[in-house]
């Protein structure tokens, strides 16, 4: 990775982002190619699982992961745009472009997973089922997409674009999307693992933590993974406020995640036995200790907190850990079979298909294509 500074010539910057774009396009071609081949060959059979009980699989995990990261990134950008926190100015533009990139990656996966995505475009807004959290989610995501696009359009190749008042709405929508996304699961009284008023708050903290992880990673990527290449104000943000915020959000995530696991293990309630299974899996511990506790320690100790490489490591661990815990949450909530009789297993097995993995690759590729193109051609990285 070439060392980048804001003073490097535009052509060098361009090369850096062009390389990123080419790599992202390759990823998109691999994931998207496989997905399209499967869709034309077999339909969407591979993305959906079975009527035995796992109705939302890795595709929905991927969609929610990208959507909530996008919402979190818009919230981080709002710290400057809405609240005027000058410190966050250097990362606000990057966060907004990343928010759009994540949104496009996530929504593309949702479109491929849904049975009739095009009908959703008119049937959801026109039928006004206000009791459904998904109705609100679709509505909010639609308006959020439009407003975010307007904000971004206004800053294309304008390095000195100031705070945008429209960001008040974008930030508010991002907050609402996160809370409603939590309610989609939290309102399900028939699924005890999901049920609870705390789930929207859990989602809020996770989306903010995830957004900080992506901000850390892509800011370092832009600066050649070295604090030495950063502008002084960007560097002080990463060695000060942002690192502390990151540590606090990781700690809150740890408390909520471990707390729910302990409560689930203690309870005898039907449906919560899935926690026994989850906690017995190595993935649970990799996520909790390796991808939450370890980054927390890295971000708490002064020596590692201000070290660029340690920050990058912490951000990567958090990104992976968040994906694992979202997977455990969404799949785990469906694993106890409902009314399937004795010959159904105690817990439904689930392994993502190749097609579902390809959707994840597609989302990563597409999001990176959007970001890298914006950085290369649209001035997404003209600051900090």
């Amino acid at each position: 990775m070439a060392m980048m500074t804001d003073t490097s010539p535009a052509s060098v910057r361009g090369n850096h982002f062009l390389l990123h774009l080419i790599a992202a396009l390759a990823l998109l071609a691999i994931g998207g190619g496989y997905v399209l081949w499967e869709v034309f060959q077999f339909g969407k059979v591979q993305f959906n699982t079975t009527n035995a009980g796992i109705h939302w699989g890795l595709a929905i995990v991927t969609y929610d992961y990208f959507l909530l990261t996008s919402a979190g990134l818009a919230m981080v950008a709002s710290l400057w745009h809405v609240f005027g926190l000058e410190e966050f100015r250097p990362v606000a533009r990057r966060c907004l472009w990343l928010a759009m990139a994540g949104l496009i990656g996530g929504v593309a996966v949702l479109f491929l997973e849904l049975g009739n995505p095009w009908i959703a475009l008119w049937a959801t807004p026109l039928n006004m089922q206000m009791a459904s959290p998904l109705f609100w989610k679709v509505l909010l995501v639609g308006v959020y997409t439009i407003l975010l696009a307007i904000v971004l359009f206004g800053m294309i190749n304008k390095p000195d674009a100031g705070r945008n008042p429209l960001m008040m709405l974008v930030g508010l929508l991002a907050l609402a999307i996160t809370l409603v996304a939590g309610a989609v699961y939290g309102m399900m009284a028939m699924r005890p693992m999901w049920f609870g008023g705390e789930i929207p708050v859990v989602f809020l903290i996770e989306s903010f933590m995830g957004a900080l992880a992506f901000t850390v990673f892509f800011s370092h990527l832009k600066n050649g993974f070295s604090h030495g290449n950063m502008r002084p104000e960007t560097r002080s943000l990463f060695e000060g406020t942002l690192a502390r915020m990151f540590a606090i959000s990781i700690a809150l995530h740890f408390i909520l995640h471990a707390g729910r696991a302990v409560t689930g293990l203690w309870s005898n309630a039907e449906g919560l036995q899935v926690w026994e299974y989850l906690v017995a899996q190595p993935m649970f511990h990799i996520a909790l200790w390796g991808c939450v506790a370890l980054p927390f320690v890295l971000m708490v100790l002064p020596a590692t907190r201000s070290n660029g490489l340690m920050q990058v490591l912490a951000s990567l661990l958090v990104m992976v850990g968040l994906l694992i815990s979202r997977y455990e949450f969404i799949i785990g909530g469906q694993m106890v079979p409902l009314f399937k009789g004795t010959w159904a297993p105690d817990l439904l097995p689930y392994v993502p298909s190749t097609g579902e993995w390809a959707l994840l690759v597609l989302a990563v590729g597409l999001a990176n294509v959007v970001y890298a193109f914006a950085a290369w051609r649209l001035g997404a990285e003209d600051r900090g």
């Binding site: 959906n48 679709v138 004795t342």
Partner: protein, 252 residues
């Protein structure tokens, strides 16, 4: 308007699955994807073993969570019959209703076949139909806006209480009974074929109906009352044991 409901007498049911088969034929279900099924439960180990079974259609809830979660109102309560139906023209295949149904009675076709070989390949169809079953209801009965007929891909389906039959019933009848020649044709397929007569179908709002009499006199119970869904399917269990053992209690 009648408020159709069902009573299933578990002390009479033999678990023969005739209802399941009749439903599959009537509603062109794929093998293994049964709107109506009989679930078997075992508790304990031989020789201290208890086996029970539970015929399980859609509960046609009074407070259906599948309706309130559906973002497009594709799932709705039919005004004429009180039955919960799916409009296949509006369903986007988000499967939220499947996640939100406490009774696990909704079905999506875009999946690997439950039973091999895949009959969809043996009986391929053109157009919206996903397959062309050799047995099926007359075409004029099909109504995608009510989720009746051969299920297309990308949408969710569920038991309709044989809406195409019960909606034609003469006005004001208290029960749809296969033993009554006047109502036989309008009786749901699963009720009509039940040899030991373990299933009863009638108007829950009519004080004269047999279903109301059975619920009152034999102590009809509904499944998973704690969800507040208020099923319109009642079980007569003789009061001896819970209708369905929880999977934790089965494990001991």
């Amino acid at each position: 308007m009648p408020n159709w409901g069902m009573v299933i007498d578990l002390e009479t049911c033999t678990g023969c699955q005739a209802c399941t088969t009749a439903c599959a034929m009537e509603n062109s279900r794929l093998p293994g994807e049964n709107w109506q099924d009989v679930l078997f439960y075992s508790e304990g180990e031989y020789p201290n073993l208890n086996i029970s079974w539970l015929p399980r259609p859609c509960m046609q809830c009074e407070n259906p969570s599948c309706v309130s979660v559906c973002p497009t109102r594709a799932t709705y309560v039919d005004e004429g019959t009180g039955v919960v139906l799916v409009d296949w023209n509006k369903c986007i295949g988000c499967k939220y209703c499947m996640v939100a149904c406490p009774y696990g009675v909704r079905f999506y076709m875009d999946e690997a076949p439950v039973v091999e070989p895949d009959v969809r390949e043996a009986f391929p169809a053109r157009g919206r139909r996903t397959w062309n079953p050799p047995f099926r209801m007359p075409d004029e009965y099909e109504d995608p806006s009510k989720g009746i007929g051969i299920q297309p891909s990308g949408v969710v389906s569920k038991c309709t209480f044989c809406h195409h039959k019960i909606s034609q019933a003469p006005e004001g009848v208290a029960d749809l009974d296969e033993d009554n020649p006047e109502t036989r044709e309008y009786t749901p397929a699963c009720v009509r074929v039940c040899a030991p007569k373990a299933r009863f179908f009638g108007d829950l709002d009519n004080p004269e109906s047999k279903v109301n009499e059975l619920i009152a006199e034999k102590g009809g119970v509904r499944l998973r009352e704690e969800t507040g869904n208020k099923p319109k399917v009642y079980y007569l269990s003789g009061g001896g044991s819970p209708v369905v053992p929880g999977s934790r209690s089965r494990r001991g």
